[in-house]
Amino acid sequence: MKFYRSHVLVCVDPECLAKGAHDILDGLQDELVYQGLIDEVQVLETSRIGGCANGPEIVVYPEGVHYVGLSVDQLPFLVEEHFLKGRVVESLLAKEVKRADEELGPPKPKEVRVVLRNCGKIDPENIEDYIAEDGYQALGKVLSEMTPEQVIEEVLASGLRGRGGAGFPTGRKWQFCRSAPGSPKYIICNADEGDPGAFMNRRVLEGDPHSVIEGMIIAAYAIGASRGYIYCRAEYPVAVRTLNIAIKQARNLGLLGDDILGSGFSFDLEVRMGAGAFVCGEETALMASIEGKRGEPRPRPPFPAVKGLWGKPTNINNVETYANVPQIILKGAQWFASMGTEKSKGTKTFAIAGDVNNTGLIEVPLGITLREVIFDIGEGIKGGKKFKAVQTGGPMGGCLPEQYLDMPVDYESLTAAGSIMGSGGMIVMDEDTCMVDIARFFMEFTQDESCGKCTPCRVGTRRILEILERICDGHGKDGDIETLEMLCQQIKATSLCGLGQGAPNPVESTLKHFRHEYEAHIYEKRCPAKVCRGLIHYRISDNVCTGCMVCARNCPVEAISGERRQVHYIDPDICIRCGICQQVCNFNAVEVY
C-alpha cells in the first residue's frame, strides 16, 4: 500500500458540484502532478454533512484545515503554499464561526453522531476506510459469537425504533419476520426518502454506505433472509452509484455472497431504483414496485413480515434504522438505550431547512427540545424575523407554533401535538409565511402523489385542495372551515394507506393552531402574511423609486411602465402578483398592501 503524507477531501455534494467541485478535483490532481507531489498527497472525493454554502470546499488531513470558496486559478498557489512550503493559506480558510467548519471537526455541543459518525471523514468509495473505523466488526461478532435470537434480543433491548416514520420497535419487527413460515425471506432497505426538505438518508448513503449494508447483513442473519434489496429513489443517482461500488467491494472481501466470512451464512444484495412516485415510500407500494408493478399500496394485514415481496416474509426498514444496528451490536444495547428518552431511544438525524440561519443536517439525541434545535443549533430565524411555525414529518406531518418550542422531540410528543416524527425533515417558517398557503402547498403535493387506488384519498384530497385554493384566491365563504374539518376526519378514517391517512395532517394542524389566518382570508379577504396572490396588491412608492427600470425589465407580464429616472407604475389589471419586482428592487420601493 502506498503511503501518503496528506489527504485532500474534496466535497462533491450537489451544492458544491454546482459551483464547480469537479474542476477543483481535476485541477488539484493536475497541479499535484505538476509540482511533483502526486505520490505524497492523495485526493479523495467526499460527501460533506450540511450546507456547502461557501463551496467548493476541501479539507486537508491530517491537519484538518478547511478551505472554502475555491476557484481553479487559486490552486497553483494553494498547492505550493500548503503542500510544498507547509504554510496555511489564511485567505482561503473557512471562517471560524461557520458551522460548516465544525461539521468536520467535533460536533456541536448538543449533537451526538452515531449514524453520521463517518460522513465526511471517510472515503465512501473505499471499504478499507470503513473497516479502519471498526467497520464490519459487528458483523464478525454476530457471525462468530451470536445466535440470530441473541441478535434480536440485543436490538430489542436497545429500544431502537424505526426511523422511517411510524417508529415501530425494530427488534419486534425482526422477531415477527423470523418466526413467520416460508422461504426464502427478504430484507429491504427503504431509501426512497420522498419527503420534500429531507435529505438525511442521502447523506448516509453517499457518505457511509457500508454502515447501511452491514446493518442489512446483520438483519438478514437475524431473520434468516437470503436476499436483500435497497430501494433508492431515482433522484439520487450519486447514492445509487456509491451503493453499487460499496456492494461490489463487500462482495470482493467475502462480506456478501456465499458463506460469508466462512460462517456458512449466505446473503446477497442489490440496488433497485424508483421512478419518481412518492407513494413508493410506503412499504407495500415499495414492494409492488420492486416486483416491477405499479407502486400501489395494498391493505395491511397481512404485514410484510408475513406476506411481503413475492408473497414471502419480508423485513423492511429505513436507511437510518439499519445504519444504527452495527453500533448497537458493537457498543451494546445499554449504550444505545442511555441516549434519548424513556420511550424514544438513541439519536435521530434531522434536516433543517427554511427560514433559519443555519440550514443543514444534524444528529441529536431524541428528547431535545424544538427550541434547542431551531435556536441553538439552527441559530435562529433568518434576517432577525419572528418565528412562526415549524413543520415536521413531511407532507403527512403538521405545523407546530411557538408554544410547542419547549416540547421534547420524540415519537409520542410529536404525535400528541398533531404532527409526526416522520423521517426527520424540519422546515422552519418565519412570520412572512402564510399558513393557509402552506396547507394548500402540502395538499397539492399529496393530491398529486395520491396513487388513486382508494376513493377517500383520490377524491377527498382533491376536494380539500379546491377549497383551499378558493380561500387563497379570496373566494372563501362561510362554512369552508367546517367542511374542511369534516373532510379531514373522513379521509383519515377511511383511506387505504398511510398517505391518505396522513394527508389531512397539515390542514388539521394549521386549522388548529392558525385558525385566525383562515378566518382572515375567508371573512376579511385579507392574507395576514401578504402571500396569497388573490388577496394582495403591489405598488411602487413614489418617494423611494429611483426609476432604475430593474423591476420593469424583470416583470414577467410587462405590467410595469415608466421611463428611466421616472417613478414607475404597476398596472393592477395586468399584474399577476408574483412578487419578482419586490425581490429585485434594490431600493425597497415596492410595497405590498
Binding site: 455534494d13 451544492e15 454546482a18 420534500p196 426538505g197 416491477g292 425533515g425 414577467p556
Partner: protein, 177 residues
C-alpha cells in the same frame, strides 16, 4: 405479434439500428431478473430518453408480460415519458424549502423568457420546462436542476443568464460544461 409492432413509425427508436441495439441489449441483460419490467423501463428511459408506445409493446413481448401491465407501469411513474424531451430539461424544485424560498416566481420568469408552459418543450427541441420534488439541496433553495447540474440560490433576474448559457452551449455544439 402485437399489432403496433407490425408497423413501427420511422421516427421510433426501434426503427433506428443503433438505438434498437441498445434496447435489445437492455432486454437481453435483464430478462431473467425478478421484477424485470421496472429495471428495463428505468434503463430505457435513461439511455433512450423516452419510452414510445412501440417500445412498450416490444418490452411486453420480450418479457412476456401483458402490454397493459407495461403501459400501466409507464403511466404510473412520473420519471417515465412517452415522448422525447428537450436536450436540456429544466426541473424547478417544488419541495417545501424551495417553494417557500421562491420557486413559483422562477417558474413565471422561465415561462416568460422561453415562451412555453410547464411540461412543454421549445420548438427547437432544446429546452423542456418541468418541476420536480426536493432534490436534496434544500440549503441552496430555490433550486433548479438542468439535466445533472444543480443551480442553487437562483434569483429571478439571474435566471435568463442561466437559460442563455445552455442555449449558447448547444449553439456552439458543446454538450459538456
Amino acid at each position: 405479434m402485437l399489432k403496433i409492432l407490425e408497423k413501427i413509425p420511422d421516427t421510433d427508436p426501434l426503427a433506428a439500428p443503433e438505438q434498437r441495439a441498445i434496447i435489445d441489449d437492455i432486454l437481453e441483460r435483464n430478462k431473467d431478473v425478478p421484477g424485470a419490467t421496472m429495471v428495463v423501463l428505468s434503463e430505457l428511459q435513461s439511455r433512450i430518453g423516452h419510452i414510445s408506445p412501440a417500445m412498450q409493446a416490444y418490452v411486453a413481448q420480450k418479457l412476456r408480460v401483458p402490454l397493459s401491465e407495461v403501459n400501466g407501469v409507464v403511466s404510473f411513474y412520473s420519471f417515465f415519458t412517452t415522448q422525447p424531451k428537450g436536450r436540456y430539461i429544466f426541473k424547478f424544485c417544488l419541495g417545501t424549502a424551495c417553494y417557500v424560498r421562491g420557486t413559483p416566481q422562477l417558474i413565471d420568469k422561465a415561462q416568460q423568457v422561453l415562451g412555453i408552459k410547464l411540461g412543454e418543450t421549445t420548438p427547437d427541441g432544446q429546452i423542456t420546462l418541468e418541476t420536480c420534488r426536493c432534490v436534496g439541496a434544500c440549503s441552496q433553495a430555490p433550486v433548479a436542476m438542468v439535466n445533472e447540474d444543480i443551480h442553487g440560490r437562483i434569483r429571478p433576474n439571474k435566471l435568463p443568464q442561466i437559460i442563455r448559457r445552455y442555449q449558447l452551449k448547444q449553439k456552439n455544439g458543446k454538450d459538456e460544461a
